[in-house]
Amino acid sequence: MIQVRLSAFPVDVEFQAASGITVLFGPAGAGKTLILDAISGFVTPQGGRILLDDEILFDGAARVNLPPRSRHCGYVSQHGTLFPHMSVRDNLLFPLARLSRLERHRRVKEMLERFALLDAAARRPHTLSPPERLRATVARALIGEPKLLLVDEPAATLDQSLRAELRNALRMVRDETGVPVLLATRDLETGFELAGSLLLLDRGRILQNGPPRKVLDQPASAQAARLLGIPNLFPAEILALDPGRNTSRLRLENFELAGPYFPGRLRGDRVWLCVAARDLRVAVHDGSKPQGNQVPARLERASDLPQTVRLEFAGAIVAEIPRQEFDRQKDNKDWLVEFPPEALRVVARDAAENL
């Protein structure tokens, strides 16, 4: 268990992470790397306290600041840090200097087997394939049996197949070694797939913290929703709430919608309505009167995504539909967009806040 409270400009965060994989998700410049560097001891925060299990790694008030070598954190940083002048085997032996010869070789063999590196053991890092290099880096970070593994998603994993390799390696760490992992990533999919707990980070602040499903289902703020890639955010006002029938009515700029009951909200609350793009349903507008939660909208742009088509309508409404569905009616301009009540979420809106 790691407990972190730290301020190191521009980062100011407080969180805990127990077993499993905890994901720090945020855009570039959110402060992810700075947090990992502070935990591993390469950056000294201005203040705060970092506790790993029962050991104080850093305490600004008590002037405790352990050097990196005494912190027992494995660190897979953004840069390739295998020692270029040593073979993979020597790289793995490096953290084990204090152990007996027998124990050293037992551990190296175990890691080489676990990470499928037996063939690469005698080779230098620059002769390895990128997946081998990644596995060797993770193996070296783990071999000293750290109390915590810090992973700053390597820049090289912009490559999709390498990204899958990293996910596999981390899944194995989680399931076979039980070492808690703190993973910093800009890739929501990786975060979502692996995380036991997701920390949403932007500009040095934690916006939201919780199980990934819950974070994605109920963003805590418009900022969080935007970070999670939810494009549909509309200012709205709650006109009516009926807990008995589980319904509500929302007034948006140009139209009204029926929604579910929103616990904890009051009539007259000004909120952001947020809807995921793939939750919207669309149909060709044949001139008939819109029903229920349908809103007429003019298509402004359609762009191809790998599996779907992204439709951008006037009024900043964005929908995503399967390609076959779109191909049948691709020349149509006037559409009806349906907002399914169960897909509607609201998040708090400050009086001054606008898009």
Partner: protein, 188 residues
């Protein structure tokens, strides 16, 4: 007339010792200046480079007054001390740029894996900077070698002139290899 090889051996001994001393003092200084931040760093930096700007005569004078009490003076051992001091800025600055050029992330990775500062230096910094360090040693050696060659040529008999030329050629070769090393090529 049989050739007299004694000046060559003397030059070699002299240059080797001077290089040894200058690198023994220069390497820790280079590491301190390249990798550490401490109060007085700038001052130490300037002091270590002082022999570069002091006229040799001034340096020799200070050395004479400092070592005057010991029987060292007017022996070739004194020349070794002088040459080591004179070569120090050269070998120090060359080693220092080599040490500073080592990828910092690798050194930090080693620290994170539990290595002490000494172990980081010995296992990571030193092996990765060896080309630059060897270049520093060769440059220092060439410098001392030629220094003494000139002195010997002026101070000794004419028949040593051809030998001195040989020394100069050897020094040139050392410098050339050192330069190739620094540019990261094999010293072929």
């Amino acid at each position: 007339m049989p050739a007299d090889w004694s000046p060559l051996w003397l030059s070699l001994r002299y240059a080797a010792l001077a290089t040894l001393f200058s690198i023994l003092a220069g390497l820790p200084l280079a590491w301190l200046l390249a990798a550490r931040h401490f109060p007085g760093r700038e001052l130490l930096d300037a002091a270590a480079s002082l022999p570069l700007v002091l006229p040799p005569a001034v340096l020799a004078y200070y050395l004479l007054s400092a070592l005057g009490r010991w029987p060292l003076v007017f022996h070739w051992h004194a020349a070794v001390v002088l040459s080591a001091i004179y070569t120090l800025p050269l070998s120090m600055n060359l080693s220092r740029s080599g040490i500073a050029a080592v990828n910092h992330n690798l050194e930090n990775a080693a620290r994170g894996l539990g290595a002490s500062e000494w172990r980081v230096f010995r296992r990571i910094t030193l092996p990765l900077a060896w080309r630059a360090l060897l270049a520093a040693i060769l440059a220092g050696f060439a410098r001392s070698f030629v220094d003494f060659g000139l002195t010997a040529m002026v101070a000794s008999k004419a028949e040593h002139a051809s030998l001195t030329l040989l020394l100069a050629a050897a020094a040139l070769a050392a410098l050339y290899i050192g330069n190739r090393l620094r540019r990261g090529q094999e010293p072929a």
